[in-house]
């Protein structure tokens, strides 16, 4: 691990350098909150931001994106090329870095998603450590994503007078040395750095979940009537998935363009909470009830995707969804509840299930 120091007043010059070579994304203030967006004028950069309304996911998986442009007459088709320059994400908090790592897994599982990777491949990612909790709803520490992790090239940790920057990989080294803005390690900031890291650990010492058993606990709670109770507080509006850094579900629809000559096959973010998400022709809906859809999302975050990719959990605790949810439903609540689910009731249901004669292996 190589550490360098960046004085506070070098941040903007550095951002400017990156902005010249990359499409520059960072946190900026908008309408009384913060958003992660492409910013032309780097002085809008707000490294003091709390959290953003949407995660930086949209840099690589935009809310609406054209997958193919197809000539309606000839059927000739092409994938729209992304604008030439790669993307730089500047100032990504640890939860969102972990979120990007999860996205990489979901979009990287073979067959990997080409539109995503075209944007993601040469992206330069700059992390920024959190020294305080961004909002009451966040629970990054419960799922252990309050520490630096995920795909960063630089990781900034604020210390007195500037940032200690951890460099990673070839791109991180190259950009740092080409910029000429970093300073070599001194003893004082080293001490400062360790202190900050200790402080972060102390600040983020919320209740840790038993991540080892989380997914099995959750899966066991599947038949619990508690989900129905929880769904009384759910509108099934999909706000939670929309703001989630790890949700990837999408819809694909054709649009007509260019004087009815071209079709644009577009994908747009979808949500497993939306009523018709699992409905097929003929009207069968595999998750018809609000409670089934809510449960599915929690299972995806806490069990399904985690299991699929060998992780303890697929939620990064950013707290965006409980903040967005008007019923104040938090994954943390579901994760914690799953442990309380009484084994006895599970056993009882299993017996019923076997009595029904359908399954043997439960």
């Amino acid at each position: 691990m190589r550490l360098l120091f960046l004085p506070e007043n070098h941040v903007l010059p550095l951002a400017r350098l990156l902005a010249a070579r990359y499409r520059f994304w960072g946190p900026a203030a908008k309408g009384g909150a913060f958003v992660f967006e492409e910013i032309a004028d780097v002085s809008r950069l707000r490294l003091d931001y709390s959290t953003t309304l949407l995660p930086p996911k949209q840099a690589f998986l935009p809310p609406r994106e054209i997958l193919a442009r197809i000539d309606i007459e000839t059927h000739e088709c092409r994938s729209p090329a992304r604008p030439g320059k790669p993307i730089a994400l500047f100032g990504v908090h640890p939860c969102d870095l972990h979120g990007l790592a999860h996205l990489d897994l979901a979009m990287g599982e073979p067959p990997a998603d080409a539109p995503y990777w075209r944007a993601r491949k040469d992206a330069f990612i700059v992390g920024l450590a959190c020294v305080q909790r961004c909002m009451p709803e966040s629970f990054c520490d419960s799922v252990e994503s309050h520490r630096a992790g995920g795909p960063f090239d630089w990781m900034f940790t604020p210390v007195a007078g500037g940032y200690v920057v951890e460099l990673r990989g070839e791109a991180g080294e190259r950009e740092a040395s080409e910029s000429g803005l970093f300073e070599v390690a001194g003893e004082s900031w080293k001490k400062n750095y360790d202190e900050t890291r200790d402080r972060i650990e102390k600040t983020f010492s919320g209740r840790r979940l038993n991540l080892a058993s989380l997914s099995s606990d959750l899966e066991r709670s599947f038949q619990d009537g508690w989900w129905e109770k929880l769904a009384d507080r759910c509108f099934s509006c999909g706000a939670c998935t929309a703001v989630c850094p790890t949700c990837v579900c999408f819809d694909v629809q054709d649009e007509i363009a260019e004087g009815c000559r071209m079709a644009e096959r577009c994908r747009s973010w979808d949500s497993c909470l939306i009523r018709n998400f699992a409905e097929v022709a003929g009207g069968e809906n595999f998750r018809k009830l609000r409670s089934e859809r809510l449960r599915h999302r929690m299972m995806r975050q806490g069990a399904y995707l985690a299991g699929r990719f060998g992780l303890p959990v697929f939620c990064v605790g950013c707290g965006r969804c409980p903040h967005a949810c008007l019923g104040k439903i938090s994954p943390l609540e579901a994760f914690e509840h799953s442990r309380k689910f009484p084994i006895r009731r599970y056993a009882q249901r299993l017996v019923e299930h076997i009595k029904n004669g359908v399954t043997r292996h439960e």
Binding site: L53, L54, C237, I256, G259
Partner: protein, 259 residues
């Protein structure tokens, strides 16, 4: 290929939805190139009577509030292969239906004084209460991009897929600060989206012009509105702005908490 014949008709309304077609400044030339518009009185003269065009798709703007409206609508239904309820008035009854919740005689008297006898109107109804409706374009007014997509979809030979997600979903995509977090109130969680949450995006809570989303959680909405200071009457007025005749009484009770 024969061009699709499209007609626009207007009943009790502000004609804003028809105007929305002209507001598609970027697509209008493509649209009129791709279809044959056989009735569109707001911007065009036609030979023949007002309601007697044979059309593949007829867009009905406005609610039905007079015997004349009703008879004309029947004619249009007979001469059209598909009927589109075009905008909130046609789709839900819209603002016009507010008067259904007032005494009909008082309503006329308030406006026409001693001349009420010259005024012949009935209760306000959505188009679907009179004839079979094939599609609905929601909103007051309809969203012009949605309208363009709808029309292009027709040209391409595709059935319209109704937006199902509530307003909140698109509100998040638009990176709005939730109106509730700003101290206001909003019906977005129970209202059908498709408007790209334009009201919250401009700092104003949703008033439900696109009608209720399927399977809305009304008790939860009531609790949240109550916690934000809205009583049963206020919730009722809020709902009635566009949905006075669109929401069944039982659901209305569930939302307002009052009989």
């Amino acid at each position: 290929m024969k061009k699709l014949r499209i007609a626009f008709y207007s009943f009790t309304s502000c004609e804003g939805c028809q105007l929305s077609l002209l507001e598609c400044e970027d697509q209008i030339l493509d649209i009129v190139g791709a279809v044959e518009i056989v009735r569109f009185r707001e911007a065009s003269s036609f030979k023949g009577g007002e309601f007697d065009a044979d059309a593949d798709v007829s867009f009905i703007e406005g609610s039905i509030s007079t015997a004349h409206d009703e008879a004309a609508l029947q004619t249009v239904r007979m001469r059209s292969k598909k009927i589109v309820a075009f905008g909130a008035c046609a789709d839900l009854g819209g603002v016009n239906a507010i008067r259904n919740r007032q005494d009909a005689e008082v309503v006329k008297e308030r406006v026409y004084g001693k001349y009420v006898k010259w005024i012949h109107t009935s209760a306000v109804r959505p188009v679907s209460a009179v004839v079979h409706v094939d599609y609905a374009l929601h909103g007051c007014p309809v969203d012009k991009d949605e309208l363009a997509r709808f029309l292009f979809g027709l040209v391409a030979g595709r059935r319209w897929a109704e937006p199902v997600a509530p307003v909140c979903f698109e509100c998040k995509l638009r990176q709005n600060v939730c109106i509730f977090h700003k101290g206001g109130t909003c019906l977005g969680p129970i209202v059908r989206g498709g408007c790209r949450a334009i009201c919250p995006a401009y700092g104003s809570g949703c008033d439900g012009c696109r009608g209720l989303a399927p399977d809305p959680n009304l008790p939860l909405m009531r609790r949240i509105l109550r916690d934000h200071g809205l009583g049963p009457d206020e919730i009722g007025r809020r709902l009635d702005l566009f949905n006075a005749s669109a929401v069944p009484d039982a659901m209305r009770r569930e939302l307002t908490g009052r009989a």
